[in-house]
Symmetry: C2
Amino acid sequence: MHGKLQRKTTDLLEADALADFKVGVDNVIFSVDAEQNRLLVLLVMRSEEPYVGTWSLPGTLVRQGESLEDAAYRVLSEKIRVNNLYLEQLYTFGGPDRDPRESAEVFGVRYLSVSYFALVRFAEAELIADGVSGIAWYPLTQVPTLAFDHNEILAYGYQRLKNKLEYSPIAFDVLPDRFTLGDLYQLYMTVLGEAFSDYSNFRARLLKLGFLQDTGTKTSRGAGRPASLYRFDAEAFEILKDKPMVFI
Amino acid sequence: MHGKLQRKTTDLLEADALADFKVGVDNVIFSVDAEQNRLLVLLVMRSEEPYVGTWSLPGTLVRQGESLEDAAYRVLSEKIRVNNLYLEQLYTFGGPDRDPRESAEVFGVRYLSVSYFALVRFAEAELIADGVSGIAWYPLTQVPTLAFDHNEILAYGYQRLKNKLEYSPIAFDVLPDRFTLGDLYQLYMTVLGEAFSDYSNFRARLLKLGFLQDTGTKTSRGAGRPASLYRFDAEAFEILKDKPMVFI
DNA sequence: GCAAAAGTGTTCCGACTACACCCATGC
DNA sequence: GCATGGGTGTAGTCGGAACACTTTTGC
């Protein structure tokens, strides 16, 4: 309401001068290790200042001509090779002083982070070591203190993951093409924690939704009765997608 | 995976040079006119290039030392005076070429928009006309073509509003302190459209939740039996906030 | 046979739906 | 009285929770 008219003349000296930004994209990449029933996050060891030698979320700064989502995909593809994945924007963190590089020059450039949330198939995901910086899947329970405000971003991403699982079919982006209902149940247990639902009720509910296709084949894993392999029927789901649905 | 090592020397010439950003904040500000049962959005007429003379969402560019949320509040307070409001971040739109100012200089500055979603009390909201640009509440059904990608942002905000209404108590940020259950019902009807629930069922469900306090006083509006005035009990709600709850 | 995992069925109970009906006011 | 909106109650139904039970495998 004030200063707007004079700005042209004294731009850089005024208190309300515009901030210049570099925009970073940070990815919260989850995966589920079905063997060990662990929820994993992908972390990289920083090899540049600031925070050299500290673990952080994989991220990058946005380049000229590159969209935010492009940048998010680029980070991902530089770190892991995957065929299938789920990706969505998470939140934008942009307070001043969230990046120590800002304090270097007074009123210098600001760093803003647009975070993305991704889910990939653990079995397919092949980590790309570039020889310089470390890269590793960390069990969510063992994540150390991260660079910047990345612990906060991670916590936010984990919340989103849990919410999404309840009303979105993102689980099928992490499971192999053919999976047993036990696999699916284990995935939910791993992410949401113990006792979110009885197995047989979970089973009945999911099957009633009608987008799980019994392939006819069965698989036997050690002791116990062999389980039917199911496939996610994307076409059948499309029809139902607008109706509210709960996997709990 | 490539170019990372050489970047220091030929930074500005390389294809993967970093983009420089100005960051804008655009607000989708909703209100509900209880008299006429209309859902309203606040729009402003642009008085500067680009898009002079076109309606747009109220927005601003982020200043030095200012957080994103600060900027969002600043836009709001420059346009309207309100006592109570709900505000949350919506989404970040950041593709190249979303702002025509970008094409002016090749590889010049990029414009990124962090959008916020707000809900204010219509009766309390006093619009601030600055004499230069227009400002007006538009019924959602009559919104014209807006500047930039603002129609898209608005559509996204409307979706969020509908979702939030179902599981969050944001309605009470828009209603006056004391309101009748009829007021509350009308609000839901106005935002969500006809026939989302029977009135008596809606009433029973809400009262059972236990955070609506009957003030004892009654109000009479024209014909019909006087209605009890209720108040939202924030303390009672705090206790229940973590449990899933549906107002439908 | 026994343990282990898959798969089926059944009972109980709470919640939502769809109404019908009573109450208090203005005119 | 009658129209209007507020407020209460109820019968039917659907779906989830809990749990018992059957089936098919490995050993």
